[in-house]
C-alpha cells in the first residue's frame, strides 16, 4: 500500500449530501462527530466544501430536484472520492420506491461510484462508522 493511499485511509474528510432525507440520517451522521463516537479519532472531519471531501455521505431518496445536484456534487469532488449511501432511502429508496417524485436510486445515478451501503431507518452511528471503515478497506484492496 502506497503512502498516498495510507494517508487517504487515515484522513477521510466527509461531506454531507442531504438529498431529500427526512433529517434522521443527517442527525445520526452528526452523532458520529459527537463525544460518544468522535470519528475525528480516525482522522475524519466534516468539511464544508465538496472540494475538500474524500467521501460523500448521501442521505435521502433523491427526488427529481436533488438527483441532478447529487450528480453535480460528485462531479465537483476531487478524485479519488468514496460515496456512501447512508440509510435505507439512499440504498434502495425504501418505502418511497415507485413514487412519482423519484428518479433512479443512487447507484444507478452514479454507476460504480457507491462503495458502501449503510441500511437502517435511521442507521446507528456504529453502522455508519462501520460502513466508512469498510469503504476504506475496499480502497486498500484495490
Amino acid at each position: 500500500m502506497g503512502l498516498k493511499l495510507k494517508a487517504l485511509t487515515k484522513s477521510p474528510w466527509v461531506f454531507h449530501v442531504s438529498a431529500g432525507s427526512c433529517n434522521n440520517c443527517d442527525i445520526e451522521i452528526l452523532d458520529c462527530l459527537c463525544p460518544r463516537f468522535d470519528i475525528e479519532r480516525f482522522g475524519a472531519l466534516l468539511v464544508g466544501s465538496v472540494r475538500h471531501a474524500d467521501a460523500l455521505l448521501v442521505t435521502g431518496a433523491m427526488n427529481r430536484k436533488s438527483a441532478m445536484r447529487v450528480k453535480k456534487l460528485y462531479d465537483q469532488a476531487p478524485k479519488p472520492c468514496l460515496v456512501l449511501a447512508i440509510g435505507t432511502c439512499a440504498c434502495d429508496q425504501g418505502i418511497f420506491r415507485g413514487s412519482y417524485a423519484l428518479t433512479t436510486p443512487l447507484d444507478e445515478l452514479l454507476p460504480g461510484a457507491v462503495t458502501a451501503y449503510v441500511p437502517g431507518c435511521p442507521p446507528k452511528p456504529e453502522a455508519i462508522i462501520s460502513g466508512l471503515v469498510k469503504a476504506l478497506q475496499t480502497l486498500q484492496d484495490k
Binding site: A7, S11, G43, G48, S49, R51, H52
Partner: protein, 314 residues
C-alpha cells in the same frame, strides 16, 4: 559570498525555515485539535493526523474552477507559504543567533511578511470566481485592516522603550540587559492588546469569518482542492508557530542563550498558544462588522494606552 549564500539558503529551507517550521507548526496544529477535542469531551485525532492530512491532500486531484484565473489561483498559496517561511526564518535566526542574526529594520519587514498569508487567502479567494469565496476574501480584507492598526501600534512599544531599535537582534539583546518588555506596565498592556490581534492573524474563532465552515462553506478556500489546499493548510500551521514566536521574541524576552532560558522561552510560546486555543474554544464567531468595531475601538484604545505609557517611560 557563496558560503554565506548557502548558509542563508539552508536557514531558509531547513532550519529555522521551511522544514523545521512546517514540522513544529503541524505538531502545534495537532495540539490545537487535541485540546479542542478535550475541551469538547472528545478523544481527538492521533499525533500524526496533520501529517496524514497534508500527504493525503498532496495526492488528491487539483481542480481549477472554470472561469477562474489559473495563475493567481495556483500562485496565491505559494505567496502565502513564502511569506510565512521567510518570516519564520528571520524570527528564528534572530532568536537563535541574537544580535548577529538580524539586520536594521527587519521588524518592519516582518510586519509586512506576516501579512502575506492573509493576502494569499484574499488573492486565492478572489481568483476562484466563486461568490462565497469572494465573500470570504472581502471579510479577510476587512479583518486585516481591522487588526493591523492595533498590531502595528503595539509594535511601537518595544521600539519606543528601547530608544528606537529597529532590529530583532538588538531588541533581544536590549531585553537580555534590561529585562523583557512584558515586565513593564506598558509591555503588559501591549501584550493584552495584541492577543486578539494574534487570534485574528491565525484566523481562529472568534475571528474566522473568512473561512467560516458552517456559514460560507470554507469561504475563501471553498474552491481549493488537493495540493494548493495542502499548501494553505501548511501555511496556517506554520503561522501557528511563527506569529506567537514573533510576540515572544519582540515583547517577551525571547529565548536567551542558556538552556534554562530557552526552555522558559518555549514555555512562554506554549502558554501563549494554549491561551489562544482556549479563547478559540470558548467564544462564538462574531459578525465581521463587530470584529472590525472591536479592533478599531477597544483594542486600538488599549494599544494607544500602551504606546502612551511607553512614551512616559513605565
Amino acid at each position: 559570498m557563496t558560503a554565506n549564500f548557502f548558509i542563508a539558503l539552508l536557514r531558509f529551507l531547513i532550519f529555522p525555515g521551511l522544514l523545521f517550521t512546517a514540522v513544529v507548526g503541524l505538531v502545534m496544529s495537532w495540539l490545537d485539535r487535541k485540546v479542542t477535542a478535550r475541551v469538547q469531551w472528545r478523544v481527538g485525532p492521533p499525533f500524526l493526523q496533520p501529517f496524514y492530512d497534508i500527504v493525503k491532500l498532496l495526492g488528491k486531484e487539483v481542480i481549477v474552477p472554470a472561469g477562474g484565473s489559473r495563475m493567481a489561483f495556483l500562485g496565491a498559496p505559494l505567496v502565502g507559504l513564502a511569506g510565512a517561511t521567510l518570516a519564520a526564518t528571520l524570527i528564528g535566526t534572530a532568536a537563535i543567533y541574537g544580535g548577529g542574526g538580524g539586520f536594521r529594520g527587519d521588524i518592519i519587514i516582518l510586519l509586512y511578511l506576516l501579512v502575506l498569508p492573509s493576502l494569499a487567502v484574499i488573492l486565492g479567494g478572489a481568483a476562484s470566481k466563486n461568490p462565497l469565496a469572494s465573500v470570504g476574501a472581502s471579510r479577510e480584507m476587512k479583518l486585516l485592516m481591522g487588526y493591523e492598526l492595533p498590531f502595528i501600534l503595539v509594535m511601537l512599544v518595544p521600539i519606543i522603550q528601547s530608544g528606537g531599535m529597529l532590529s530583532l537582534g538588538n531588541l533581544l539583546s536590549f531585553q537580555a540587559q534590561h529585562g523583557s518588555f512584558a515586565a513593564s506596565l506598558s509591555g503588559v498592556v501591549a501584550l493584552v492588546a495584541v492577543l486578539p490581534c494574534l487570534q485574528a492573524k491565525l484566523a481562529l474563532v472568534p475571528f474566522d469569518q473568512a473561512e467560516a465552515e458552517t456559514e460560507i462553506m470554507g469561504g475563501a478556500l471553498i474552491e481549493y482542492s488537493g495540493a494548493p489546499l495542502a499548501v494553505f493548510k501548511l501555511t496556517k500551521a506554520m503561522m501557528l508557530f511563527t506569529a506567537p514566536m514573533f510576540l515572544v521574541v519582540v515583547l517577551w524576552g525571547g529565548f536567551g542563550q542558556t538552556l534554562g532560558s530557552a526552555l522558559l522561552g518555549i514555555g512562554k510560546y506554549v502558554a501563549l498558544l494554549v491561551l489562544v486555543i482556549l479563547l478559540r474554544n470558548t467564544n462564538p464567531r462574531v459578525k465581521i462588522k463587530h470584529a472590525v468595531r472591536f479592533f478599531w475601538g477597544p483594542v486600538t484604545a488599549l494599544a494607544l494606552i500602551a504606546v502612551l505609557l511607553a512614551l512616559v517611560g513605565v
